[in-house]
């Protein structure tokens, strides 16, 4: 088994990297894949809490790097599904505690008994980001349909292309069909037109994400919410399957409907 290392990054903070990392890890594990998720937000540990594994951390990645424990001792197995484990970040220290070389070494070791290693990158373009992309076979860029997120994603795409890790694939997160319809939110085509990389998935804004985070049970554990369906589709695409994108609206508008709506606005 030679696993693929996928780094999930964004540039801008708060667009959903950790939520995406947690849910893709769960979705892939539910498909029978062996997954190790790595939280690289050193000093601001958060993948553990989104996964609901925050109470079980003994060792973290910095302990591994400093030789205070073996890698396997720091890995926390998920009790709910076989095949998912977490390498947590340190809640002390900062991004300089780990180097890009450390990350490459750790991921090389994890490749041998995992199908995928998902690296949850911190925000920014400094050491933490470079550590996260150094071991990557593939880079996934998360953005929201909002000007500053798209601008940051553009910068990140330029950076990863510059270090030969490009072009990356895009996840558009937190899209709100109602706002898109009203002309108050960029739609999928707009974002793709600007960023010009392949689309991996579109995840709608979904209140059940917050509920799931409150409970420590990522939405991907159930299949019913729109965001959960999106994450499962993305997991299938990561496995090489050709999954059509979910339509944003229940029914696509015809030209006549658009005319009627425009007349009402006057």
């Amino acid at each position: 088994m030679s696993g693929r290392v996928i780094t999930i990054t964004s540039g801008k903070g708060g667009v959903g990297k950790t939520t995406v990392s947690a849910n893709l890890s769960v979705a892939l594990a539910l498909l029978g894949q062996h997954i190790t998720a790595i939280d690289l937000d050193i000093g601001l540990r958060n993948l553990d809490i989104v996964l609901g594994m925050e109470n079980r951390i003994i060792y973290d990645i910095v302990d591994v790097v400093r030789g205070q424990c073996h890698l396997y001792q720091a890995l926390i197995r998920d009790k709910r599904i076989a095949g998912l484990q977490l390498l947590p970040a340190s809640q002390t220290h900062d991004k300089t505690a780990v180097s890009a070389e450390d990350m490459v070494a750790i991921c090389d070791e994890l490749r041998s008994n995992n199908d995928f290693v998902l690296v949850d990158s911190p925000a920014g373009i400094e050491q933490g980001f470079h550590n996260a992309v150094a071991p990557a076979d593939d880079v996934v860029i998360v953005t929201t349909p909002e000007v500053s997120a798209v601008r940051s994603a553009d910068r990140i795409i330029g950076l990863i292309e510059g270090i030969g890790k490009g072009p990356g694939r895009l996840i558009i997160n937190r899209i709100k069909p109602g706002m898109v319809k009203r002309g108050d939110m960029l739609d999928t085509f707009d974002v793709i037109e600007f960023l010009a990389i392949d689309l991996l998935g579109v995840v709608p804004e979904d209140e059940s994400i917050l509920v799931a985070t409150n409970q420590g049970t990522p939405v991907a554990f159930q299949q019913s919410s729109p965001a959960s369906r999106a994450f499962h589709n993305i997991a299938h695409r990561l496995l090489g399957e050709d999954v059509p994108f979910m339509p944003l609206f229940e029914e696509q508008e015809g030209v006549l409907d658009r005319l009627r709506r425009a007349l009402r606005l006057r």
């Binding site: 000007v147 601008r151 002309g183 739609d187 707009d190 600007f194 005319l259 425009a262």
Partner: protein
């Protein structure tokens, strides 16, 4: 045609504004040329070209475009007339473009 333009053309949505702003900001980000620098370059270009021709300063347009990985500085400069003739004849006796009719 006019009705269609009134239906679809008048009110600009916030998303359309966002797209325009993003288009501009991304071109500047990708080229590494911030808007202020572009203004300076524009003024420099006007100064240099004004030495040789009279310009319609109101109509001058200088912008960046970015396509297929190539950034271009595009200058659209309306010219009114030459400042000086290449020969030693009287100044301004012929319009730009030649006297042949």
């Amino acid at each position: 045609m006019d009705i269609l333009r009134r239906l679809f053309g008048r009110r600009k949505s916030s998303k359309e504004l966002a797209k325009e702003r993003l288009r501009l900001v991304l071109v500047h980000d990708r080229s590494g040329i911030p808007p202020e620098l572009l203004q300076i370059m524009k003024n420099d270009i006007i100064t240099v070209i004004s030495k040789h021709v009279r310009l319609d300063r109101q109509g001058i347009e200088v912008h960046l475009s970015h396509n297929h990985g190539v950034t271009r500085l595009v200058a659209d400069i309306p010219i009114l007339s030459a400042r000086h003739q290449p020969s030693s004849g009287p100044i301004g006796t012929r319009p730009v473009g030649g006297a042949q009719r």
